[in-house]
Symmetry: C2
Subunit: 255 residues, 2 copies
């Protein structure tokens, strides 16, 4: 099958799940992909990309590695790309095979995404979790597919090494119970995180963040043992979900 056809097909979540492949778009993201342990199966680029030194270097690196590389017209490239400014390069790769067990083995901190829908926010949230040393991110139903090209792009390479697991509510509740992981959630009605003594935090902890405004899904709320909030200035109502996630993960880091 032609690379272009595969890339177009992978714009659909069902196709990504069936083939266990995804598309990474943009010079910086493809660079991060080539530097990761993931298997890259093909690269598409426009003629213009080769005018850019950094772009040409990416193509050369792929060729040296024996990856199938194909130059396509601007129109064909645009038909396969999913982000706003894909910069004339995209690569197809195999999804990492994260298993629950390997993630849990050494883990103390987990992030749980409950029905987060904005791809840019989800990518930034995963990037944040990876940078702050979270051992795995669990994605619950209603959340955008993390292998969506927009999420991959905004995660800035974090998805290529940070374990992400899609679980349904029952599997998540079973995970938390089996591994004795208390489930805390970010919620405006919770305890101020500033009042917590970090030395008294549980050794393992999963933090649930949910859609701004929508609040926790009922299924998730049932598994939550404590709610925490960030104290905000009077008259202000909210933080961007990635910013709030960063502040909470940092404040709740292991002592």
């Amino acid at each position: 099958v032609k690379l272009l056809t595969i890339a177009r097909d992978l714009q659909r979540r069902k196709a990504r799940e069936r083939h266990q492949r995804f598309v990474a778009e943009g010079v910086r993201t493809v660079e991060a992909l080539l530097a990761s342990p993931l298997t890259v199966t093909g690269l598409l680029h426009t003629a213009d990309l080769m005018e850019d030194a950094r772009g040409a270097a990416v193509v050369k690196q792929a060729m040296v590695r024996g990856i199938t590389v194909k130059e396509v017209s601007d129109a064909d490239f645009a038909s396969a790309a999913d982000t706003d400014a894909p910069q004339g390069v995209l690569a197809i790769a195999e999804m990492p095979s994260a298993t629950l067990e390997q993630t849990v083995a050494a883990g103390t901190r987990f992030l749980v995404l409950d029905a987060l829908q904005d791809p840019g926010n989800v990518g930034t949230v995963v990037r944040t979790a990876a940078a702050l040393g979270v051992h795995g991110t669990i994605v619950l139903p209603g959340t955008v597919d993390v292998w969506n090209a927009k999420v991959v792009r905004s995660a800035m390479g974090a998805l290529f090494h940070h374990p992400v697991l899609a679980l349904d509510w029952e599997a998540f509740a079973a995970f938390a119970a089996a591994h004795e992981v208390p489930v805390w959630a970010a919620d405006m009605a919770g305890d101020p995180v500033e009042s917590l003594d970090r030395r008294t935090l549980p050794p393992r902890l999963a933090l649930v963040v949910s859609n701004e405004g929508a609040g926790l899904s009922p299924h998730v709320a049932a598994a939550v043992t404590r709610q925490v909030r960030i104290t905000m200035a009077p008259g202000t109502e909210s933080l961007n979900v990635a910013v709030a996630t960063g502040i909470l993960l940092h404040a709740l880091r292991p002592a």
Copy 2:
């Protein structure tokens, strides 16, 4: 002058500075603007907006307040709007007249933006500063104009009440010296913020955040007395600037 002509003109920074007016786009942003103390001088909308209950309510509220309201064609609206999905409504308002003195009077925490260029990031950074109780944001040369419609939109209303001051390097250095405000900067080479004892922080503090990758401007570096960084997991390299700003402002909040 026609409202449409004014809105188009305000897409240019020079026109905004000359008229001391700006454009707020989208239902949520215009709602926040109407709820703020700022003077709104006009509102443009499409016919489609009135099909939406929330959109129609915004228009009605503006009319009740005696604000000039005009319905325009989709094409005319698009020619005046600057953000990707302006939702068929924009409003023109007078910039708040923030003065350095009123900001400083009661302030203990300040945020300083050094050559931040992405409008979405700058808006989210200002929203974060406002929510975390920062008393004023100082914008240095090389930073995108905060009254750009994209910044206004992503600030989610924060610009309508949080004081923002544009200063050149000399004025900023003079401000820091005159008011005895130590200037700290976010930098990968700094001290880990996790190692600081919040009880020993200076009573007043200005935190400088700069362009990801580019580092501090030389002019700013000369005024910086301490650099701080967020400890990151091995193999990860960066956080989104708004996320990093949120974590640092939270970690450096007054004791």
